[in-house]
């Protein structure tokens, strides 16, 4: 049984087929890339996995259980952590508070517990603090913990999103174009960081528009074009695949 199974998923927007009968799996412990030109349907597939949009047909299973139809927060609690293509941090909250939301989401929160300051509430709060610090330290954001997220340098905000997702203690981390807007040095730093996370045992699905990052760190690469999966193989094979080269022709040279 694979950790994530995407089973004949199709998503239509009116007449447009954004994701067209895609089947794929992600095994526990893998670092998989998902690439494709603009508008290929990467984000849409991603949103289907996380419960943001329902598929028109097909289903997604996580750890053997069907998650299609569940609300995003339930999918998150099953163990899928995500980031967003367009940064979606909580600007008027501190870096610490931003990250704490991931831990709160995973551990759950009850109003009467907080109201009555029960023992359970204190235990839970200590656990939220611990997980938040852990995620902050893993992303080297601890020195910024007290800053408002809005005051964080742009490059660090990517790490903030990743930290928040890590605080949900995911079994699968799905990153949507984390390198967008970063320069080469920052991209290389991010690549090293993602590799470290993977080496620590996290399963990662990396959605990217830019082939070079994916080719350099992923064990396996899936390629989407116009909603269809046109390749699914190790980077070296995908780079030589004539169908992939054609899909990228005119948009971008494969690295």
């Amino acid at each position: 049984m694979s950790l994530l199974e995407i089973d004949h998923v199709t998503r239509r927007f009116g007449g447009l087929v954004a994701v067209d009968d895609v089947s794929a799996v992600v095994e526990e412990g893998e670092l998989v890339g998902l690439i494709g030109p603009n508008g290929a349907g990467k984000t849409t597939l991603f949103n289907v996995i996380c419960g943001f949009t329902p598929p028109s047909s097909g289903e997604v299973r996580f750890a053997g259980e069907r998650i299609t139809g569940l609300k995003p927060w339930r999918i998150c609690r099953r163990g899928i952590g995500r980031t967003f293509q367009n940064l979606r941090i909580f600007p008027n909250m501190t870096v610490f508070d931003n990250v704490s939301v991931g831990a709160i989401g995973r551990l759950g929160i009850e109003p009467f517990e907080s109201l009555l300051r029960t023992r359970a509430a204190r235990v839970r709060a200590a656990e939220v603090s611990a997980r938040t610090w852990q995620a902050l330290e893993r992303t080297e954001l601890a020195p910024y913990a007290h800053l408002l997220a809005a005051d964080l340098p742009y490059g660090r905000r990517k790490y903030l999103e990743i930290a928040r997702a890590l605080a949900t203690s995911p079994r699968l981390l799905v990153l949507d174009e984390p390198a967008a807007g970063l320069n080469d040095t920052e991209t290389a730093e991010l690549a090293r960081f993602i590799r470290t996370l993977h080496a620590e045992g996290l399963t990662i699905l990396l959605v990217e528009h830019d082939m070079s990052l994916v080719m350099s760190i992923c064990q396996r690469v899936m390629v989407l074009a116009s909603g269809r999966k046109i390749a699914d193989a190790p980077p070296a094979v995908v780079q030589q695949d004539p169908i992939v080269l054609e899909a990228y022709l005119g948009t971008e040279e494969p690295a």
Partner: protein, 331 residues
């Protein structure tokens, strides 16, 4: 010791210094002013939870205040229920309405939610106005007994003041524990980006309904206190304009800031009274002051960032790790 200083100071002012001063002044008017200020503190604190902390703009808050007031008025004049019971029951009835209204509207997005609460608030007002057999319509309900809960006679100015102050402090404690905890972080996340909060594992709709229930419960309590201390309720006290007044308190004080809600309520109740000397121009003056506040201090007189910083220093989680030498989390 940490965390004890601020509550002690609040208790000293509210339960010793202020009532002593008011008794020495011996003025019923000043007592009444203190009572009304505290009642509006409860209202602004409760709306702060919904609008400032959880980010749901509500334009019908006065309706829940009204439901609480009418519940207390009707139960005490028709059923003869003790004030010790009418007050909590008023809170529960108001929260029940709050949940009933929240269930269908919480899925609405920002401005639509605001308009829905506006419409429902006016519906409740029109019902109070026209259901003459039950509410006596525009005549209002009079002869509401003063506060004698469970045989304790608190109908004197001092007794009434103490009960209202105690309930205001209880409300503050409730709002404080909700807003200044990880539960509060979850609510703030809803305000910032509720879809994203959903993806982080927060049950968005459930949280919104919960916060609406807690806040409308408090608004109902404020209504019951108003009914018992005024002795008379009238639909006009719970109109849209009253909702806007409470909203103004929250915004002028600072959206999301608990101390801000108190500052805003105190300012907008006491300022018009302080300006009585200048006659009806005072309404203009209050409007101008509000306008200037928003223009120059858009984050409020006591903004959220400063408020959270202050509260964290008092009640925050012990700092550990990292290099920022201040408390950041909650206990």
């Amino acid at each position: 010791m940490r965390g004890a200083l601020a509550p002690l100071a609040v208790a000293a002012v509210l339960f010793a210094i202020l009532p002593m001063g008011l008794s020495m002044a011996g003025s019923g008017y000043l007592f009444r002013l203190a009572d009304v200020t505290l009642i509006f503190c409860i209202l602004s604190l409760s709306m702060q939870l919904i609008t400032g902390v959880a980010g749901l703009l509500t334009l019908g808050h006065a309706a829940f205040y009204g439901i609480g007031a009418y519940t207390a008025a009707i139960l005490s004049t028709r059923v003869g229920l003790d004030a010790g019971l009418t007050i909590p029951v008023a809170g529960l009835v108001s929260a029940l309405f709050g949940v009933l209204i929240a269930l269908p509207t919480m899925r609405l997005v920002s401005i639509y939610f605001a308009v829905a609460t506006l419409g429902l608030g006016e519906m409740i007002y029109v019902t109070l106005l026209n259901w003459v057999s039950f509410t006596r319509g525009p005549l209002g309900i009079g002869d509401i007994p003063p506060l004698r809960p469970f045989g304790f006679d608190l109908s004197s100015p001092l007794g009434t003041y103490f009960l209202i102050a105690a309930l205001a402090v209880l409300s503050l404690l409730i709002v404080h524990r909700i807003a200044h905890s990880y539960y509060g972080n979850a609510l703030r996340a809803l305000r910032e980006d509720d879809q994203c909060a959903d993806a982080m594992g927060l049950p968005v709709v459930r949280l919104k309904i919960e916060v609406f229930a807690i806040a409308t419960f408090l608004a109902g309590i404020a209504g019951a206190l108003w009914a018992h201390t005024t002795g008379y309720v009238n639909p006009a006290d719970f109109r849209f304009a009253e909702s806007i007044l409470i909203l103004a308190m929250v915004v002028v004080g600072g959206l999301g800031s608990i101390p801000g809600a108190i500052v805003g309520a105190a300012l907008l109740i006491l300022l018009p009274e302080a300006l009585r000397a200048i006659g009806e121009v005072r309404i203009l003056a209050v409007g101008l002051i509000m306008f200037l506040c928003i223009l120059f201090l858009p984050k409020g007189l006591f903004g959220e960032v400063a408020a959270l910083d202050l509260v964290r220093r008092q009640f925050g989680a012990a700092w550990r790790g990292g290099s920022a030498a201040r408390p950041l989390g909650w206990r």
